[in-house]
């Protein structure tokens, strides 16, 4: 089955400005035609996409697969299957595996397992420092050669701002984008929730807004100093969004993303010590959520991520501060993004851009678009079909989601990866 046509769908390709009823034709893993089939094209299979939206496969800048090192939580095979069912065809795997992604051997291992699974492209993010310890630089040039499109220190802090400066300079020497989780570890202290009225009432150690804004200000200053390309991973405060908007006005090479759950939940959701809403960075105020939404609407936040973190049930079964942060989120990335359309924050094509060409542009990769010759990674979804999220029906090994029972819209019907149907329902 090398040739495939997707017929009658509403094709939305934000990168190429297309939103029209256009047929899509695929030959040996590549898009070979839009509209009328090329020459004597005779597809092995035709997908009837009438009433459906055809868009590029989703690109996710942050999804933990838990392999190697935490296979009791999830595996590359299980999570790439979850990705396929969520319409995600490319994902970046942060380097906080065990061992960390700080040598080409680990990159190779992850890529090989992902290839064997064959449902999604997995891009390992290289570690900035050895063992993520924050002190000595990892061999970034070798990591790039092995296939890392960018480097990151995951949630681990760098030992000093001097190490950070050197890391930015070294990474930029080799054209590597640096993904930073902006957080000052000392201001964070032992916090586990937003420092605000809810954490005050619940007596939970708070993480102040300044833990993020201080880090963003510092990182922007270093960006000015070094000229290195910085991507801010996972914002949580409205103030950080405004700082990034100003940096963009100053034409600094920065970009930012947000986890989808930050656009829907707030600190109020942890009330009752709900560990499903224990996330990192923490859920903050309604004003922060609105600020993040405004950043997504303006484009200052160019990408929405799943920030997928599958856990075994025990990891969430403890007093709130001891629970593991994170949400199993690959399967809610598309429906939550589409909810922004329903809530009139974004037009449909702009929403799709935030999960396709937006994140691809952060990486500087020609993904998340459907032009002739592009790789045939495609998501076909029903924009109207309502469904209720049932954690037990999720493909991911992690069932940890606060969105259980939410009515979602936007059901993935087909996911194509390299021209093959890797998921259909």
């Amino acid at each position: 089955m090398n040739r495939l046509s997707i017929l009658g769908g509403r094709l939305i390709d934000p990168a190429n400005g297309i939103d029209a009823r256009v047929d899509l034709h695929i030959d040996r893993g590549r898009i070979c035609g839009l509209g009328a089939p090329p020459g004597a094209f005779n597809p092995d299979r035709a997908i009837d996409a009438r009433g459906l939206v055809v868009c590029p496969g989703l690109v996710d800048l942050s999804a933990r697969l838990r392999e190697p090192g935490a296979e009791h939580k999830a595996t590359i095979a299980s999570e790439t299957a979850a990705a396929a069912s969520g319409g995600v065809t490319t994902l970046c795997c942060p380097p906080d595996t065990d061992p960390a992604i700080d040598t080409p051997a680990v990159v190779e291992l992850i890529r090989r397992k992902a290839k064997r699974s064959g449902r999604c492209m997995v891009l390992p993010l290289g570690a900035i420092t050895r063992d993520l310890a924050g002190t000595e630089l990892a061999e970034m040039a070798a990591l790039k050669a092995a296939g890392c499109p960018a480097v990151s220190n995951a949630s681990a802090a760098l030992a000093s701002i001097l190490v950070q400066r050197r890391a930015l300079e070294y990474a930029s020497t080799y054209g590597l984008i640096v993904l930073l989780r902006p957080e000052d570890p000392q201001l964070r202290d032992r916090g586990c929730a937003h420092e605000g009225p809810v954490s005050t009432r619940l007596g939970l150690p708070g993480i102040p807004e300044a833990a993020e804004t201080v880090a963003v200000a510092r990182d922007i200053a270093l960006c000015e100093q070094t000229g290195a390309r910085i991507h801010f991973r996972g914002l949580s405060t409205a103030k950080a969004v405004r700082m990034i908007e100003r940096a963009l006005q100053d034409r600094l090479p920065v970009s930012a993303d947000v986890a989808a759950h930050q656009l829907f939940l707030t600190e109020a959701d942890i009330d009752g010590f709900d560990s499903r809403c224990h996330v990192d960075p923490p859920l903050r105020t309604t004003a922060d959520r609105e600020g993040l939404r405004a950043g997504v609407a303006s484009g200052a936040i160019g990408a929405i991520c799943s920030d997928h973190q599958p856990h075994e049930p025990d990891a969430k079964d403890a007093p709130f501060p001891s629970t593991a942060p994170g949400i199993s989120a690959l399967e809610t990335l598309l429906p939550l993004t589409l909810r922004l359309v329903e809530e009139r924050l974004l037009a449909l094509d702009a929403a799709i851009a935030r999960v396709t060409c937006g994140p691809a542009d952060v990486l500087g990769l020609p993904l998340g678009r459907l032009g002739v010759g592009a790789r045939a990674d495609v998501c076909v979804f029903d924009p109207d079909e309502p469904w209720i999220l049932d954690p037990h029906a999720m493909r991911s090994c992690g069932r940890n989601t606060p969105f259980a029972g939410w009515e979602m819209r936007g059901r993935v019907r087909y996911t194509l990866f390299e021209g093959r149907v890797v998921y259909e329902t």
Binding site: G196, P197, T200, G203, P205, F273, D274, A318, P319
Partner: protein
């Protein structure tokens, strides 16, 4: 807890667990105080026992060390004729890697009827209550910085006994509000029971930035904060606040926030002085105040038994769908 069913009440709104004062009605809190009043007599009799909880097993589950609280809980349980297990977990199961849930299940298998839980993490008592078997009651004896509701209620009881009421009073709480579960419970109790004003007095390092959201008025000067107060409560100051850069020294703290007879003149002449104990003499207050006529600190300890008897007997009468009408 808006949006969350109050896990500590049963379907009829009666006390099933006692985890926090948050969300409890003035009526229920008053019922606890009235019941404690009836038990206060028992503790003063020669035979200091009532048979209310005969045959019941109560486990004192202390993941954090405590002398006073554990002892008064034990006395309260014994005066209700229950059997008491004291389990000091910090030196026991968790040191062997057992999870909190496993510890709980094992004790349940021994047919324990009530857990009295102290734990260093906020939310621990809620967690245990959510996972406990239906017939088991959980009493929070202090969880992290969140709540210490029996202490809060014994403080309400002490105020009511000494001043006859809580309604309309001005109460000042001095000290480390940021780290204090006791203060959070006192504030909730005072506001629910109609205190006129709750003031908190501390340098900004010891106040959570959103302290006003708890319904209190923050002050940074002792004299101003205790002016015309009916009740002055001082909180215990932990030594580690000095190394954590919350305060420069005990000396400066005492100079600015320590209670002395002279400074107490700003409060009402009949004002009482409280402290949850143990006191650091010369830090939170000097000995003249601690041992002086306005101090009700030892009465707090005594009343703690009656209040805990009231709470334990109320929670136990509800389990298993209500054994008592």
């Amino acid at each position: 807890m808006s949006g969350h069913p109050n896990v500590q009440l049963d379907a009829k709104g009666r006390l099933r667990h006692f985890l926090t004062i948050d969300g409890l009605s003035r009526e229920l809190l008053t019922e606890i105080l009235d019941k404690a009043e009836s038990f206060a007599g028992v503790t003063e009799q020669t035979v200091k026992k009532v048979p209310l909880l005969r045959g019941k097993v109560i486990a004192n589950l202390f993941f954090e060390s405590s002398t006073r609280t554990r002892t008064t809980f034990e006395l309260a349980a014994k005066r209700l004729s229950a059997d008491v297990l004291n389990i000091n977990i910090s030196t026991s199961a968790t040191a062997k890697g057992e999870t909190l849930l496993d510890t709980l299940r094992n004790l349940e298998a021994m047919h324990v009827d009530m857990f009295v839980v102290r734990h260093a993490e906020s939310g621990a008592a809620h967690f245990i209550a959510q996972h406990a078997a239906p017939h088991v009651s959980v009493i929070n004896a202090g969880d992290g910085r969140h709540s210490h509701p029996t202490q809060g209620m014994l403080d309400m009881f002490t105020i009511r006994r000494k001043l006859g009421r809580i309604e309309g009073l001005k109460v000042a709480i001095v000290g480390d509000l940021r780290h204090s579960r006791v203060a959070r419970s006192q504030i909730l109790g005072l506001n629910a029971l109609g205190a006129a004003e709750v003031r908190v007095i501390a340098p900004r390092t010891l106040l959570p930035p959103d302290i006003r959201s708890l319904g209190v008025h923050p002050f940074h000067q002792l004299d101003e904060g205790i002016r015309d107060a009916d009740v002055v409560i001082t909180l215990r100051l932990q030594k580690e606040r000095m190394s954590g850069a919350f305060l420069p020294s005990e000396r400066e703290y005492f100079q600015l926030f320590g209670l002395t007879e002279e400074r107490l003149r700003a409060a009402k002449p009949e004002a009482i002085v409280m402290h949850p104990g143990p006191i650091n003499r010369g830090v939170e207050m000097d000995s003249q105040v601690a041992d002086g006529p306005r101090s009700v600190i030892l009465a707090q300890v005594t009343y703690g038994i009656a209040v805990r008897m009231a709470i334990m007997s109320m929670a136990m009468s509800v389990g298993e769908g209500g054994r008592e009408p």
